[in-house]
Symmetry: C2
Subunit: 122 residues, 2 copies
Amino acid sequence: MTPASATEPAVGSRSLAHPARDEIRIESVLHALSDPVRLYIVRELAAAEAELTCSRFELPVTKSTTTHHFRVLRESGIVQQIYRGTAKMNGLRREDLEALFPGLLETVLEAANRQADRLDAS
Amino acid sequence: MTPASATEPAVGSRSLAHPARDEIRIESVLHALSDPVRLYIVRELAAAEAELTCSRFELPVTKSTTTHHFRVLRESGIVQQIYRGTAKMNGLRREDLEALFPGLLETVLEAANRQADRLDAS
């Protein structure tokens, strides 16, 4: 017989802390979205409509900076990070954000896409 | 005859630098809105639907911090600061923001108001 505690710590050490829905704050969400790299990540996750690994993103920053950006996105409540096997998968918390701040994510994404188009064209 | 240059510097020294509409960036706007004090200022300006002096806001920060927050709001393109006589008046750049990022300001304000109601109720 294996005691439950023999396996639980290992599982626990690989689950990451996320704010509950009612702990998510608009200020933290806006701050997380105010960085160009993080905004790019969120746009890509939204476009993919699927969970993606961190390594799927081609970012102009170091691996540790990438990890930092994903942590800010997770701690603000925008992104859910879950280990599946050895891969850390990232997905948008669309339902939570929509319940708290209706239309916010879509409006920001649309604004970011419009700006990208505008700057590409100039 | 008074040369134009005799009066212009004095006027110039009292006009503040603002980004032109096409210099406003979504990242800077989101960053400016991500601070609770600045978000409060923007909510008050939106509710007032008028230009207000900095001193009209009862903020839990020092005068120099207040000045800093208004500067961030001005430099991001959210607020227009204009001297009228000795008073520095602040107004939202609604038209510019709406043209660049349709619906963004209203959506953020609504999200902030919903959060304030939610936290007041709990």
